[in-house]
């Protein structure tokens, strides 16, 4: 999308400190901080340990989904299927446990594999079948949701204890928060330290250059979508764990939240740009607004108005900051 227009103006990276660099790379952070300070002033309930843990739990699903989407967007694609894939994965896991009688941990594995598999299908369709990823994953959005409904016959299925564990606490710390942190570390590690991760930036930034440099572009794309499917499955299992059941309508529409988190976090839909830390911030922006509006008991009609404005303003901070810095 209007690549040049909507991309960050080039930064001049010489001799900047690490902190400054982090700030520069994570634009929406300023927006998030402003949002938090505003909520802290507006309501004493916001900055309590308990509420912060709640936010941690609530952000876990969308953030984990969004990690997968980050890979895809960095590589220049889009994944609309993550919400449906999350639902399908948890449903398959639930079905293997409840109806097929598989041991709980195997059922959990089956769920993850389901996500991986749907991701591979997305990847094959877009890398080898040459479908635009928007179309390939839109098709999967519909197919995966349909299969979820077929498997469940539209009814929730109870989940295995292993999945339910994902929704519980270890001591004072909620498991979703632990999973979130681990997933962020893994995703960030893959993106920054592995060859395939670095290659994603090349494929998204300039696919022609990537190809002419001998990168296996198609295999990288399949990996990217496979990872997205895997993270979607993990998100789906987290959600099922929290609800103690796999819901047929779980995560409907979450793809938009996940993509929004990635873009708020500074990634460009044109590809080649994006970081996991940014995605975490983007997801937090979305969750903190909703949490705050609930705390403030803003009526539900006005909530939507406010959510929209806050998203625009949070990203606006980033734009403003970049513009003043580069003159």
């Amino acid at each position: 999308m209007t690549s040049t227009l909507e991309q960050a103006p080039p930064t001049t990276p010489d001799r900047r400190t690490r902190v400054a660099r982090f700030l520069a790379d994570n634009g929406a952070l300023v927006g998030l901080v402003v949002l938090c300070v505003a909520l802290f002033i507006a309501t004493p309930d916001f900055l309590t340990g308990r509420n912060l843990l709640n936010i941690g739990i609530q952000v876990s699903t969308v953030a984990v989904l969004a990690f997968g989407v980050t890979f895809v967007i960095v590589a220049g694609g889009i994944d609309l299927s993550v919400g449906s894939v999350a639902a399908l994965s948890s449903m398959v896991s639930g079905w293997f446990f409840a109806s097929a009688g598989l041991p709980g941990w195997l059922a959990l594995l089956a769920g993850l594999l389901t996500g991986l598999l749907t991701g591979v299908v997305n990847g094959l369709a877009s890398a080898y079948g040459r479908l635009p990823s928007f179309i390939a994953t839109l098709a999967m959005l519909s197919v995966a949701r349909g299969l979820t409904l077929v498997i469940s016959d539209g009814r929730p299925i109870p989940t295995s204890p292993q999945v339910s564990f994902l929704g519980s606490d270890v001591g004072p710390v909620p498991v979703p928060v632990i999973v979130l942190v681990l997933a962020a570390l893994v995703a960030s590690f893959v993106l920054n330290r592995t060859v395939v991760g670095r290659s994603m930036y090349a494929v998204g930034g300039n696919p022609e250059a990537a190809r002419l440099s001998g990168l296996p572009v198609q295999r990288i794309l399949v990996t990217v979508f496979a990872l997205s499917g895997l993270f979607a499955a993990l998100a789906g299992l987290l959600l099922a764990g929290r609800l103690d059941s796999a819901q047929p309508q779980a995560a409907v529409g979450y793809e938009l939240d996940a993509i929004a988190a990635v873009v708020i976090g500074g990634a460009s839909l044109a590809g080649g740009v994006g970081r996991i830390s940014g995605t975490v911030i983007g997801a937090l922006v979305l969750v903190v607004i909703r949490n705050g509006l609930n705390l403030l008991n803003v009526t539900s009609f006005w909530q939507q108005v406010v959510i929209g404005l806050v998203i625009a303003i949070a990203v606006g901070f980033d734009v403003l900051r970049r513009r003043t810095r580069t003159g």
Binding site: T4, P10, T11, T12, P13, D14, N192, R193, T194, V195, R198, Y201, A202, G205, N206, E208, A209, A210, R211, L212, S213, G214, L215, P216, G272, V273, G327
Partner: protein, 502 residues
């Protein structure tokens, strides 16, 4: 050279749809030798080397490596056989670091993970080879096009290649970088690397080439030693001789009115306190080394970038900073240095690309003048000899030199009287260059004014009425046409003056 060639393209042909662009051509690449490919824009040079690089597959004929027929279905296959290629167009990822771009596809790993230290070290070594002094951690997108070209070269050099293919690597370079490159080429030759070299700078051919294969319309027309006189090469290439390479005739109108005035123009980090005037009928050349700030200056004048201080005045009217539309309305035309990123809408047709600057001005009641547009486009394409098979074909499928002509042609159609040219003849063949120079003459004869930035010093010297030399974002000196010699310019360009920025 009786030894077996490292690489042979044997009687290869290539067509795109109904158009045959290479037909029955044989090329040999020998160890320790530089095979030059010469031909007009669109003659098929790049297409030929893309068949060596595994980008295109020949429709007919064979590719032989060490005498054995091979298949090169993709770039990777070519690399495996030790073939490294510098393509005519830049192939870099702007959002990645210099180091990652240099090592792309060959990132060093330790325990399966990116070995950053090794990555930087190897990239550094490759950059040192051609004498490019940039931070290996800098984003490539932040570099000017000349430095990007050097990164591209370093990328190919860092491959331990047996065969190195260089498609117009010097088009974006000044003499100094070119010399560095040739030094490396000489070293590689000594080590037995076989090379293919393409350039429209004929003087470079004798300097580093061994044999020259001349192409015309996709056919091989002659194979001659690189020592062949330039005139003869030109004749072989274009089928006629060119009387005068730089046909700059009369200078500016002596008392011509001032057309462009730049006063105290400054932009932090790019250039500082630039003032000059250009009169009716004048060609002002701007020379300088890579990174001297010439491009930024031209962009600021054209309204492409904002600036911190100073004014730009065209025929007495001050131009609003950062407003290209206002500049265009005042008769300013700007040929940017990077045709692919800044000049062309690659997937749009040649016709559309030629018409963007005149889309609104030729419209009636907001409706596009299609017939007139096509007429104008066909005419200018004829004048500039843009080689294509259909004016509606996407400009992406034109050869590099012809794409460059399309960017120039846009402003010819617009009737611009103040042309800001940034490397206007990059990649353009000798014949077509003369056409562009003739157009420059026509524009100045009609009372227009030209500012020309070029890294090709002979072009600056041959076509300018006056030369400004920039160094570190400042004007280091001004030379009249008579004073302007290669030495005088280089002295100013490299003399130590206080840098613009602390």
């Amino acid at each position: 050279m009786t030894q077996q060639p490292l690489l042979t393209l044997e009687r290869v042909s290539k067509s795109f749809g109904p158009v045959t662009v290479v037909s029955d051509v044989t090329v040999h690449v020998h160890a320790g030798a530089v095979q030059v490919l010469l031909g007009e824009n669109g003659a098929g040079k790049s297409t030929l080397i893309k068949m060596m690089a595994g980008v295109h597959q020949p429709d007919g004929g064979r590719v032989l490596v060490d005498g054995r027929p091979v298949q090169l279905p993709n770039v990777h296959a070519a690399e495996q056989l030790g073939i490294a290629t510098i393509h005519q167009e830049l192939n870099l990822v702007g959002s990645l670091s210099v180091a990652e771009n240099v090592m792309m596809g060959r990132i060093p790993t330790r325990f399966g993970l990116v070995d950053r230290r090794e990555l930087r070290a190897r990239a550094r070594a490759a950059l040192d080879l051609i004498g490019l002094d940039v931070d290996v951690d800098a984003r490539v997108g932040d570099l000017g096009i000349a430095r990007q070209q050097l990164v591209e070269i370093a990328k190919a050099l860092s491959v331990d290649a047996r065969i190195l293919v260089l498609d117009e690597p010097t088009a974006a370079l000044t003499r100094r970088e070119t010399e560095n490159l040739f030094r490396v080429v000489a070293q590689l030759r000594a080590r037995g690397v076989g090379m293919v070299f393409i350039s429209h700078h004929l003087d470079e051919i004798a300097e580093i080439g061994d044999t020259v294969l001349v192409l015309r319309d996709g056919h091989a027309v002659a194979e001659v030693p690189a020592s062949t006189p330039e005139d003869e090469l030109v004749r072989l290439m274009v089928g006629r001789s060119i009387d005068e390479q730089y046909p700059r005739g009369t200078g500016p109108v002596a008392e011509g009115t001032e057309v462009l005035a730049v006063d105290g123009l400054s932009s932090a980090g790019s250039f500082s306190d630039i003032s000059f005037r250009v009169r009716q009928g004048e060609v002002l050349g701007i020379a300088g080394l890579v990174g001297a700030g010439r491009t930024e200056l031209l962009r600021a004048i054209a309204g492409a970038d904002r600036y911190d201080a100073g004014t730009v005045t065209v025929r007495g009217r001050r131009l609003r900073p950062g407003d290209v539309g206002a500049a265009v309305a005042a008769g300013v035309g700007h040929v940017p240095e990077d045709r692919k990123a800044q000049g062309l809408v690659l997937d749009a047709s040649v016709n559309d690309n030629l018409g963007y600057a005149t889309l609104a001005s030729t419209a009636r009641m907001g409706l596009v003048d299609f017939a007139g547009q096509r007429r104008r486009a066909e005419q200018v394409a004829g004048t500039l000899r843009i080689r294509m098979h259909d004016i509606d074909q996407p400009v992406r499928s034109l050869s590099g030199g012809n794409q460059q002509k399309a960017v120039f042609g846009r402003w010819v159609i617009a009737g611009s009287t103040v042309l800001l040219l940034d490397e206007p003849t990059r990649g353009v063949d000798v014949g077509a260059k003369v056409e562009i120079y003739e157009l420059i003459n026509a524009i100045t004869a009609g009372g227009g004014a030209i500012v020309m930035v070029s890294s090709e010093l002979p072009e600056v010297l041959g076509m300018s009425d006056r030369v400004l030399v920039m160094r570190d974002g400042r004007i280091a000196g001004e030379l009249s046409a008579a004073e302007a010699t290669q030495d005088a310019v280089m002295t100013l360009a490299t003399r130590d003056v206080a840098p613009a920025q602390p």
